[in-house]
């Protein structure tokens, strides 16, 4: 066991995967010699050589398109898109190609890719370094979409993603890279080394795909969250003193409906939290699922706390960010409703 930041855990996951399977290759912009702008691939080129970890031209469609071809050949590419905000040029290759290849070729060809990308806000990155596009992936059949909330999961989930035979979009909440950010930007961030989930086993292990984790058991209300919002939710529960059950979804497709249903049936109330814009965000799917499947157990309308339907701001980041105050207010509303 070692204490690691999320960056180190992500790097370690790739290291483990590359050392166990020489079909695993890693590439993307600045990931080679330099080890990535967030340093998530540091040292991999030195260790595995230029053939297995290299810089690419700045062309996201090319990165994913080449990875699809490599996957069809039999390799297992793990590629980095420098920011999730820059995945759009690759969207066609992700949606029309990677996601459909197995089905359309009757598994003659498959696309066992992992597409890593830093996601989310909280770093004063403005509208092009802060987006959370997970709902766009969730709507596409054939893709798995994962979002870890801590180093332990990040490593275990990323190894699982790389070993998965389906294409996986792996969204890394960049605000969590160095510590469990709870939304209080004025406070110094606690480093992962002081957090139990910063404790990361050496070598190989996986976190099962599609299994949520209950980060805080509770009886009064269920909070569904993933990524950075898990820590915000925990802070809101703490502050309001409301006995919320905080469910960390970890993967949104496939989704752990069993855990979600059990929790919401128990509590009868639900708050859904994400950073992405509200309309047609993944929170809508969660509320819709709960409304369909837990309708008779619901004691109050489910509430979404999300980014607003505007471009991600620069100066007004903290008014936009769904922090513990907004989540706390929603908890109170949902508890008071009757």
């Amino acid at each position: 066991m070692a204490r690691m930041t999320m960056i180190e855990a992500i790097r370690d996951a790739q290291d483990v995967a590359m050392s166990r399977d020489e079909k695993v290759v890693v590439f993307g912009q600045d990931v080679g010699y330099f080890g990535g702008v967030f340093r998530c691939t540091k040292g991999l080129q030195e260790k595995y050589g230029l053939q297995r970890c290299f810089d690419t031209p700045i062309n996201e469609s090319g990165i994913v398109g080449a990875a699809v071809g490599m996957g069809a050949y039999g390799l297992r590419p793990c590629v980095e898109i420098q920011f999730a905000d820059y995945m759009y040029p690759a969207f066609d290759q992700i949606v029309s190609e990677a996601a459909r290849l197995r089905h359309r070729s009757n598994k003659d060809f498959t696309a066992p890719l992992t597409i890593r990308m830093p996601t989310g806000g909280g770093i004063y990155g403005g509208q092009t370094h802060s987006q959370s596009p997970e709902a766009l992936f969730a709507h596409v059949s054939g893709l798995k979409t994962m979002i870890p909330s801590n180093p332990y999961d990040a490593k275990g989930m990323l190894i699982a993603a790389i070993e998965d035979d389906d294409p996986v979009v792996f969204l890394e909440p960049k605000r969590l890279y160095n510590g469990p950010f709870d939304g209080y930007h004025e406070k110094a961030v606690t480093p992962w080394s002081k957090h139990e989930l910063g404790e990361v086993p050496e070598g190989h292990y996986t976190v099962p795909v599609g299994k949520a984790a209950i980060r805080r058991p509770g009886e009064a209300v269920t909070i569904l969250a993933y990524g950075t919002m898990v820590h915000v939710a925990l802070a809101a529960a703490e502050e309001t003193g409301i006995d919320a059950e905080v469910v960390d979804l970890r993967s949104i497709v496939p989704l752990d409906m069993e855990t979600i249903e059990a929790s919401v049936r128990k509590t009868g109330r639900c708050v859904v939290v994400h950073e992405a814009t509200l309309t047609a965000g993944f929170g809508a799917e969660l509320v819709a699922l709960i409304s369909q499947h837990c309708f008779w157990h619901l004691q109050a309308p489910p509430i979404r706390v999300t980014g607003y339907d505007t471009p991600y701001p620069h100066a007004h980041e903290w008014e936009y960010f769904p922090g513990p105050v907004r989540v706390g207010a929603a908890l109170k509303t949902v508890m008071e409703a009757s």
Binding site: G62, A67, Y73, Q93, D108
Partner: protein, 410 residues
């Protein structure tokens, strides 16, 4: 708006439209045998002119002439002829089947048969094509069963793709034929990725990308050239310039450039143009490019100059945008007629044998069609179970799809 027009938009237009008389007088018909055959390790800029000239081997008398005229054995020439005849016969039967409502859609390769048949003949087992929808010749030449092609077209119970794909969107890993995508251009960079993987793996297999003249405008054409150039991927990048992209003439995609092949030069990729209706020339150029790749010199770009003699697809009617006789006036002739002439000139073929072969092929196609129809057609007879819709979306059926399948009651 400005009243004194200063600038105005230049919108290229074809030489002629319906009602006009086709005029190919500006098209310089290449003289067979004139373009030199450079060493395969040549640098792109050293064969700059190859991106503008057209390599042609078969002359007007069907003789194979010049430096590219070597390597095609007698049996290969005859097989090529047979393959092209098979493609054409197959196309005409399937077109009819579509008209009869036995399937939803069809696309012919009429007039372009040499491009894919000759190219496939130059590949080795294990090499991988990333085709468009107009390269059925690759499958026929590689010996993929015609029956499977028809089963796919009919979306019937024996369809290898279980009715999931539009007719003609074949896939066969075994036959080196990557799953066809409906989205133009995407497969060009995938071919480069596959070739990069072969290189990473220390393999000896090469990839071939395919794209139409119109689709060269797509962004993934650029992605492919960038990656192929940077990583010297062992691949051949084929542009099939059949003059039309549905109703749009090739000048819209080409713009001010003299040729599509010249796009490769700015990437340091040797780029050649070949007479796409000359089976021999396509074969020779493909062999050259394959050898180049095998010797570690990286990618080659080939522009196959041909003509789409049929409609774009069964959804299209070209009489709305080009003169009906344009195909007949196409100055590079018909690929089957030209190879036939060559085989006769070579003394290995005759009119009689040709007629006989045609009859054999046609009856084989019809026989196969009957067999395929026993497995069902789109609207009649057996087909894959609807349950199958839910399979292979993922390797394992996830809970939400299990639930949806249950709800569907299938």
């Amino acid at each position: 708006m400005a009243t004194n027009r200063i600038f105005s938009l230049h919108v290229p237009e074809p030489e002629c439209r319906p009602g006009d008389t086709p005029d190919f007088s500006k098209f310089e018909v290449p003289v067979a045998g004139e373009v030199v055959r450079p060493p395969v390790d040549v640098d792109a800029e050293d064969i700059h002119d190859h991106a503008y000239d057209i390599i042609r081997v078969l002359d007007d008398d069907g003789k194979a002439v010049g430096p590219w005229a070597e390597g095609l054995e007698d049996d290969e020439a005859l097989k090529g002829l047979r393959d092209m005849m098979t493609v054409r016969s197959f196309d005409s039967r399937m077109l009819m089947a579509q008209r009869q409502g036995k399937t939803s859609f069809y696309m012919q390769a009429l007039g372009e048969e040499a491009v894919s048949c000759a190219f496939q003949a130059a590949l080795s087992p294990g090499d991988m094509n990333f085709p468009t929808y107009r390269q059925q010749g690759l499958l026929v030449t590689s010996g993929y069963p015609m029956l499977d092609m028809m089963n796919q077209i009919y979306s019937n119970s024996a369809d290898p793709l279980h009715g999931r794909q539009l007719p003609i969107m074949y896939s066969s890993k075994e036959h080196g034929f990557f799953s066809i995508s409906g989205n133009l251009g995407t497969q060009f960079i995938q071919a480069v990725g596959w070739a990069m993987a072969s290189a990473i793996n220390g393999d000896s297999k090469i990839a071939a990308g395919w794209i139409g003249d119109g689709a060269t405008a797509e962004s993934d054409f650029h992605s492919a050239l960038v990656f192929a150039s940077t990583f010297r991927a062992p691949c051949i990048l084929n542009i099939v310039n059949n003059q039309w992209a549905i109703s749009t003439f090739q000048g819209i995609a080409r713009g001010r450039a003299a040729t599509f092949a010249s796009r490769g030069l700015g990437f340091g990729i040797p780029s050649l143009r070949v007479d796409g209706n000359d089976f021999y020339a396509v074969y020779a150029v493909a062999k050259w490019a394959a050898e180049r790749a095998h010797l570690g010199h990286g990618a080659t770009l080939i522009e196959h100059v041909t003509y789409r003699a049929g409609p774009h697809s069964t959804s299209d009617d070209p009489s709305g945008y080009r003169p009906k006789t344009e195909a007949a006036d196409w100055p590079l002739g018909d690929p089957i007629a030209r190879l036939k002439q060559h085989c006769i000139a070579r003394g290995i073929w005759s009119e009689e044998r040709h007629e006989q072969a045609q009859a054999e092929i046609d009856s084989e196609v019809i026989r196969t069609q009957k067999e395929a129809e026993k497995n069902g057609t789109l609207h009649d007879g057996p087909r894959a179970s609807p349950r199958d819709m839910f399979e292979d979306v993922f390797k394992e059926l996830p809970p939400h799809l299990k639930r949806q399948r249950q709800e569907a009651g299938i």
